[in-house]
Each structure stands twice: as structure tokens, then as C-alpha cells.
């Protein structure tokens, strides 16, 4: 009980002091430097260019960044905070970057503390929690990632995937009962087949059809299997697919295609751990991420930073950078499943997946 009061009090204080946050930034920088270290978790270097983000932050403020579990899932990030409550060592994360769904859960479990960054006002309302506990950082849309050395005629839309020429060529980049990306893929397929953000039945049926026709392979697609041609077509966040395209550098050629219908976007959110061993460094990190500099680094990694509209309005986006993203028209029909929708969708897909796509063991 006492913890809740303390959190509420500090939240109230922060809200009261928010307008003054910008003016305190020198104080914050000094406090953070004194702490000397920041522990982040689950930030792969080529996920929206986090590699450059971490390096830039570290170079700018001289603070060492300790990176935990780059492969971790959002759930693991929360579990890591929970397990390390009493531990001020390097295993305890200071900040987390998790899927939208995990915000309310983190608040309910008392795992995060609110902090309103100085650019708070320019963050769209629909992706931030009122008191500043968590707020969106970047988003991307689900796109087809196609190995065009193997698949000369890439699919343009979901219905194309059912064509016989793609037999044994499509795989998901995760298990829809486990991975964010994978279950939202089913949601996107649902939207393209007459479903809605509330009704994912058509998506499950689509994948049942895909499985039956032999176009869907049960393998989990990774960069290696896309490159080897074993899973030449998969669906990933556009920023990941584009990063893969760049990494493979033509060996093989990769094309990233936003589907014509059924375009789903997912928002990730940032938060500070309630048990952070380096709270000032954590706040400084947040300030950096939401500064123009930080947001543009994400844009470089092909992610749409959450303050995109504000940056565009003020004309701070370099033209060359804007040109590297897929054309804005592709994102015209993009839909953002809300928190509640994601939770309901996830549940429906997890429960329906075994039945429709069949976890029946195939005897050879």
C-alpha cells in the first residue's frame, strides 16, 4: 500500500514539475553522468537502428550503456524487472521498450514509474498514458519481405499468397501464440479478408486455407532461411524487413512490399523501471529518444517515430531520409489496433490457431 502512495505522490510531483523539466536538463545530465551507467534490455542493434541510438547516446553523454538480452520479448522485459527488484546490479533493466499491450500490465504490477519528457506535448494523445507512465516511441506497418532471387514475381497483396506459384514458399516470422509480429500478421490477413479489428476469424480461416494448399510452411522464418530460399516470403515489420534488405546487400535481393489491403501498424512504448538502479540515466535516455536527434535516428532505421507529424510540420526531416522510406501512400490505409483490441485479438488467435491451422501432428 505504501508503495502505491509513494508512486502516486511522485507522479503528482512530476506532473506538477513537467513544464519545468526542460529547464532542469543540465541538472539531469550531471546526475546521470554521476550514475555513469544505463542498463537497457531487448534492444537489438538493427531494430529501428537502436545500434546507432545507443552509440550516439553513449558518445554524447559519456555514459556507458549495458545491453541485456537483445533477443528478449516484451514479456521477458517485465519479468526481468520483477526478478531483479532487490538487485541493483547489471542484470536489472533501467528502461524498457515493449509492445503497446504491456503498458497497462506494467502499471498494474507497479513495475514502472511515470516521467514526462520535455517534448511531451508533441506526442499524439492516442499513444500515451495520461500520467506519463508510458508512451509510444515508434511504429511500423507489417510488410511482405520477399527474396526476389527465388520468387521472381513477388505478391502484392494477401490474396496473392494463395496462388499456386507460391506453394511451399511462405512462412511466418514467429508463432502467432507467442510473437507480437506473428499474431498481428493474422490480424492483417483478417482485415484483408472481410474481418475487422474486432473479428479475426477471417484471418484464421485465411491461414487455414494457406496451410491446406501447402503454401504455408510451419517453419519460423529468420534472415537465414529467407536468404537460403527456404522461406522466401515472410511478413515482418517494415523497419525490420528494410534493415534486412540493407544487411543482405543484394545477396540475395530483397523487396519489401506493403500489402495493398490489410495494413496493420503496431506501436511500441517506452517506460522507466520502478526499480531502476540508475533513474537519472534512465530519464536522460528518455529525453534523448524523444528529442529531434533521437527521433531522426529511429527514422533512419525505417521506423516512423511517434513525433513524425510534428517533425514534418517543422520541416526538420532531411529530404534524403524521407525518400528512403516506402511512399506515404502505402500507409494510407494503415490501422492501429488499440490496446483492448490487441488483447482480445491475441486471445482469439492463440486459442483458435491450433484448431484452424492444425497442431495435429502429420505422420510422415
Amino acid at each position: 500500500m505504501r508503495r502505491v502512495t509513494v508512486v502516486a505522490l511522485s507522479a503528482a510531483l512530476l506532473v506538477a514539475l513537467a513544464p519545468v523539466a526542460f529547464a532542469q536538463s543540465k541538472q539531469l545530465v550531471d546526475a546521470a553522468k554521476k550514475e555513469g551507467q544505463l542498463t537497457v534490455i531487448a534492444l537489438p542493434h538493427n531494430w529501428v537502428n537502436y545500434g546507432e541510438m545507443i552509440q550516439a547516446f553513449s558518445a554524447k553523454y559519456g555514459i556507458r550503456v549495458n545491453e541485456l538480452n537483445p533477443d528478449g520479448s516484451s514479456a521477458e522485459e517485465l519479468e526481468a524487472i520483477k526478478a531483479n527488484k532487490d538487485n541493483k546490479g547489471p542484470q536489472a533493466p533501467d528502461v524498457i521498450d515493449v509492445g503497446l499491450k504491456f503498458g497497462p500490465e506494467a502499471v498494474a504490477s507497479g513495475l514502472i514509474v511515470p516521467y514526462k519528457v520535455s517534448t511531451w506535448a508533441s506526442i499524439p494523445d492516442n499513444v500515451k498514458e495520461k500520467s506519463g507512465y508510458w508512451y509510444g516511441d515508434y511504429y511500423g506497418a507489417l510488410a511482405f519481405e520477399v527474396n526476389t532471387d527465388i520468387v521472381k514475381n513477388p505478391p502484392k497483396d494477401w490474396s496473392d499468397l494463395l496462388k499456386p506459384e507460391y506453394k511451399g514458399k511462405f512462412a511466418l516470422a514467429g508463432d502467432p501464440r507467442i510473437s507480437n509480429q506473428a499474431f498481428l500478421t493474422v490480424v492483417a490477413a483478417s482485415l484483408a479478408n472481410g474481418g475487422s479489428l474486432e473479428n479475426v476469424g477471417p484471418g484464421l480461416q485465411f491461414f487455414a486455407k494457406l496451410n491446406k494448399s501447402g503454401n504455408l510452411i510451419p517453419l519460423i522464418a529468420v534472415t537465414g532461411t529467407v536468404a537460403s530460399g527456404e522461406t522466401p516470403i515472410t511478413v515482418e515489420w517494415d523497419y525490420n524487413a528494410l534493415a534486412n534488405r540493407d544487411t543482405l546487400a543484394g545477396n540475395p535481393n530483397i523487396q519489401v512490399i506493403i500489402p495493398q489491403t490489410g495494413v496493420v501498424a503496431g506501436v511500441y512504448i517506452q517506460a522507466i523501471s520502478a526499480y531502476a538502479p540508475h533513474p537519472s540515466a534512465a530519464k536522460l535516455w528518455m529525453e534523448f529518444l524523444y528529442s529531434d536527434e533521437g527521433q531522426l535516428i529511429w527514422l533512419k532505421g525505417y521506423g516512423h517515430p511517434v513525433r513524425y507529424a510534428d517533425l514534418a510540420k517543422r520541416g526538420v526531416i532531411p529530404a534524403a531520409l524521407a525518400a528512403k522510406l516506402p511512399p506515404a501512400a502505402s500507409y494510407a490505409k494503415v490501422l492501429f489496433p488499440s490496446l483492448e483490441q490487441q488483447t482480445a485479438e491475441g486471445k482469439a488467435i492463440a486459442e483458435g490457431w491450433d484448431r484452424t491451422v492444425g497442431a495435429d501432428i502429420q505422420k510422415k
Binding site: 537489438p44 538493427n46 549495458n66 541485456l68 538480452n69 537483445p70 533477443d71 528478449g72 521477458e76 519479468e79 526481468a80 520483477k82 526478478a83 531483479n84 527488484k85 532487490d86 538487485n87 546490479g89 547489471p90 542484470q91 529468420v222 534472415t223 537465414g224 529467407v226 536468404a227 537460403s228 534493415a243 534486412n244 544487411t247 543482405l248 543484394g250 545477396n251 540475395p252
Partner: protein
């Protein structure tokens, strides 16, 4: 025995084909780093990364400690059970097989939670990692040692040795251990390989080990992970081969009381 040898050759050959085909396929794929030609560029990338040898060295170190701690704990326990308390066998076997059904993530988080606070604040020491590795290796070490002890007539040997006036230490070091050579080597090989490749504990306890490094590479690269797999296979095999060689040279002095010892 010679006439039966052809069958042995057959099984050996089948084994070799089954084991080496997937390795060959991986190797071939790792050579495709440059489009259209076979090249070692993926290997160049791996070697250019200082983290590669650093993490391998760290895991190697951890493997040595784990083997030492594991053998120290289990060998005397196993001998004791065989000689003195056979009734304890099912119970010990239960505990040594339990690690198979404990998800490593639970073990890792459990270890962190239990050992974050003084007086048992071990969480920042590599001791906790070694301890976790020992737990994971339990089934393999115990089973190897147990197999070795079964294969020798432990009771007969110990009675013979004791009637000849030898004490406990002499018994263990001069009689039991030399005859356990094959079993101990199996235990060492298995534990070594496990520790070098282990992923979850190292990641969650935040240590710069080889397993997490390999997983990180595998995330977004295509050819380098295949090169890494081949390299780690070769290097681990080399390490194990060295262990075999080193222990062989000491073996020639061992006694011949052994049951079928080579």
C-alpha cells in the same frame, strides 16, 4: 572378431554420413557470403569481431570451473551411494533428472531472486553462473559416472583394496578413478559442450558468454551464423580432443586391476 568387423564398419559409416551431411550443408551455406562465388567472407566477418574470441574464451573458462565443481560434487556422492547407501539411489536420480524439467528461464530468474539480497548476494558473481551450469549438467555428469561405477565391481574392488590395507583416499585415487576414466571423460565432454553453448542462464544473468553471442549473430545475419556454427563446432571439438589427449598421456601409468579398462 575380424569377421564381425564389416558390420561395425557399416554402422560407423552410416553414423558418419548422418552426422556430417548436415555439417557439410551448413558449411556450404556459410561459403555463400558473396553472391555467385564461394568465399570465406562470412568467416572473415566473424574473426574480425573481437567479441567472438572474447565470448568463446569466457565460456571456455566457465566450462572448466563447471566441470571441476560438478565432478567434485557428484563423483564422491555417486561412489558413496554405490558403496554405502544404495537405498538413496532413486532419490538422487530424481534430483539429478529434475533439471531436465526445470525451464532454464525459471532457474535463472529463481537464482536471481534468491540471491540478490545479503547475506547470500551472489547475483553479481560468476559463481552463480557456474552454480547454474552445474545444476544443468547434473543429469549428464551423474549418469556418466553412474554408468562407469556400474561397469566395475566396486564392492569387490573396495573390499580387495581394504583387505590389502589401503585407506579411503588410496582407494578412490588409485583404484576407482583410473577405472572410471571413460565415464569421467564422457562427463567432462558433455559438460563442456553444454556450457559453451548455453544460452538462457548467461543471458539472464548478464554474462558475456558464447551462446548469447551466437544467438545475437543469428538474429539478422544469414551467412555469419552458419560460419559461427561451424567454427564453434570445430573449436569445441578441438578443446575436447585436447582433453582426451592430455588425459591419455597420464593413463599409461594406471594399474591393471581395472575391469576391461583399455
Amino acid at each position: 572378431m575380424k569377421r564381425r568387423a564389416w558390420l561395425s564398419w557399416l554402422w560407423f559409416a552410416i553414423g558418419i554420413v548422418y552426422f556430417f551431411l548436415p555439417l557439410a550443408a551448413t558449411f556450404l551455406f556459410s561459403l555463400k557470403g558473396k553472391k555467385g562465388v564461394l568465399s570465406f567472407v562470412a568467416y572473415e566477418h566473424v574473426f574480425a569481431d573481437p567479441q567472438f574470441l572474447k565470448t568463446f574464451g569466457f565460456s571456455l573458462e566457465m566450462a572448466v570451473f563447471t566441470v571441476a565443481a560438478g565432478l567434485l560434487l557428484i563423483v564422491p556422492t555417486a561412489i558413496w551411494i554405490h558403496l554405502k547407501v544404495p537405498k538413496a539411489k532413486p532419490l538422487i536420480e530424481f534430483f539429478t533428472l529434475l533439471p531436465f524439467v526445470i525451464p532454464p528461464i525459471i532457474l535463472a530468474f529463481g537464482l536471481i531472486r534468491s540471491f540478490s539480497k545479503p547475506p547470500l548476494a551472489l547475483v553479481s558473481s560468476p559463481v552463480l553462473l557456474v552454480v547454474g551450469y552445474v545444476i544443468i549438467s547434473f543429469p549428464y555428469i551423474y549418469r556418466s559416472v553412474d554408468a562407469g561405477l556400474r561397469a566395475m565391481d566396486l564392492r569387490g574392488l573396495s573390499e580387495a583394496a581394504q583387505s590389502l590395507g589401503s585407506g579411503w583416499t588410496r582407494l578412490i585415487f588409485s583404484v576407482v578413478l583410473p577405472n572410471l576414466r571413460t565415464a569421467l571423460l564422457s562427463a567432462v565432454f558433455l559438460t563442456f559442450a553444454i556450457v559453451i553453448g548455453e544460452l538462457t542462464l548467461a543471458v539472464l544473468l548478464a554474462w558475456p558468454a558464447f551462446g548469447p553471442y551466437m544467438a545475437l549473430m543469428g538474429r539478422n545475419l544469414a551467412y555469419e551464423p552458419a560460419a559461427l556454427a561451424i567454427l564453434s563446432f570445430a573449436m569445441t571439438w578441438g578443446a575436447i580432443g585436447l582433453i582426451q589427449l592430455v588425459t591419455k598421456s597420464g593413463k599409461d601409468k594406471s594399474s591393471g586391476i581395472g575391469v576391461g579398462a583399455h
